[in-house]
């Protein structure tokens, strides 16, 4: 049996955290853990925390597109949990809201009823599916934060909070936004369009568009993506 110091300096715990230990080495870790539970647990926690810290420090922000497709995928993923089988994102959210303020009628609006954004859309048309808490961003927030309000075969509706957005071009998807807070300029073929609260942005197909959000501000909007 190794002593504790030799065991730790052997680097086996680093390999263990990375998942590269053999069954035999796993057994060694278990044996040492039973002999020195506090010391081994402490070492493992230190390694895992350091790893997490470095990974968070060197994080790479996913593109808005990637986040969107991930979040849309999540909302379609099965839960397979009897207790929450029936819940979809919108119902769950409004259920929580009802718990808070007793607005029982909010629980009856499923994602499928979210209206399509159109030039006459008003922010009030959508407040059954999101609340003020969805618009809170942490101090010093940078990047893009998305929350799916509903996902159906016809469209995906999200809340987007962003400090910057990469330019892109859509060939197979109509993107529409209704500005809730902040402002942004959308540049399409050298023309600049400015948008404020309550404005609808309708991104045309096949045209490159850049979005400029004033430095130090967060633009928040309802975003809908509708397959063309």
């Amino acid at each position: 049996m190794m002593n504790l110091e030799d065991f730790i300096t052997s680097g086996i715990l680093e390999l263990y955290v990375l998942g590269h230990t053999s069954d035999e080495e796993d057994a060694e870790v278990l044996i040492m853990s039973s002999k020195f539970p506090a010391e081994i647990a402490h070492e493992i926690l230190e390694i895992a925390t350091a790893l997490e810290y470095l990974a968070l420090k060197n994080a790479v922000e996913p593109s808005a597109k990637l986040k969107e497709s991930a979040l849309a995928k999540f909302s379609g993923m099965p839960v397979n949990d009897p207790a929450s089988q029936e819940t979809d994102v919108a119902e769950k959210k409004s259920g929580a809201a009802a718990g808070r303020n007793g607005a029982a009628e909010k629980t009856t609006r499923p994602a499928i009823e979210i209206p399509r954004l159109n030039p006459f859309s008003r922010i009030e048309d959508y407040t059954d599916w999101f609340g003020p808490e969805d618009l809170i961003t942490p101090e010093g927030f940078k990047g893009v934060h998305l929350k799916v309000l509903g996902h159906t075969a016809e469209m995906t509706t999200m809340i987007i909070c962003a400090t910057e957005i990469e330019g892109e071009i859509h060939h197979d998807i109509y993107e529409r936004l209704l500005v809730l807070e902040g402002t942004c300029d959308v540049i399409i073929e050298n023309k600049v369009f400015s948008f404020h609260r309550g404005d609808l942005i309708d991104i045309p197909l096949h045209k490159w568009h850049d979005v400029v959000i004033p430095e130090g501000t967060v633009c928040k909007a309802i975003q809908q993506r509708i397959p063309a």
């Binding site: 680093e14 990974a55 420090k57 994080a59 991930a70």
Partner: protein, 183 residues
């Protein structure tokens, strides 16, 4: 830049809800950890687009396997990173950038530092006495990997040793160089 904090004990509740299938909590975990996972995978595969696909695959797997996670055994992020690494390992070789190296990234991660820069600074400081006490094999491996940009796989092949044993040996050596935490 404000650094997001590591998941702490207060967040155990989140883990619990995640395991019970709470998608809203999962979205929060995604927003918090996807950038960290993407960073690791980008450095491992050397291509941001491939790493992005891989990150989303990983988060689908993480959801599907959420009940297998054992909070008593390891931290959530440790478990997530293992799944992400597995997704990266399944990539066909032509999708990776040959300059990227999974093992180098892993070793940076467990020691929470840029080992290449650390060793190069040390070498500048110590000159000829750098790594003098180490055995010849590992000295050559350090030279190839951290001073000549060989990948772990490339160095292992050149030196004719299995890559797994080179990884183990390197982790141990760096640990000794950095000094044991008990010392």
């Amino acid at each position: 830049m404000i650094l997001p904090s590591a998941l702490n004990d207060v967040d155990n509740n989140l883990v619990n809800l995640f395991q019970h299938g709470d998608k809203e909590v999962y979205t929060r975990l995604y927003n918090k950890y996807a950038p960290a996972v993407l960073g690791v995978l980008s450095r491992m595969v050397g291509d941001k687009v491939v790493a992005e696909e891989c990150t989303n695959d990983a988060f689908c797997t993480i959801w599907a396997q959420r009940k297998d996670y054992d909070p008593a055994k390891e931290r959530l992020f440790t478990w997530m990173i293992k799944i992400a690494k597995h997704c990266a390992a399944c990539l066909p070789p032509e999708k990776r950038n040959q300059m990227a190296d999974e093992i180098r990234e892993e070793i940076d991660l467990v020691y929470a530092m840029d080992i290449r820069r650390y060793l190069q600074d040390m070498q500048k400081e110590q000159g000829d006495s750098f790594a003098a006490g180490l055995d010849v094999t590992i000295r050559e491996a350090i030279h190839l990997i951290y001073f000549e940009s060989y990948s772990f796989a490339g160095a292992a092949e050149k030196m004719n040793i299995p890559v797994d044993s080179l990884r183990g040996k390197m982790i141990q050596t760096i640990k000794q160089i950095k000094g044991s935490l008990l010392a």
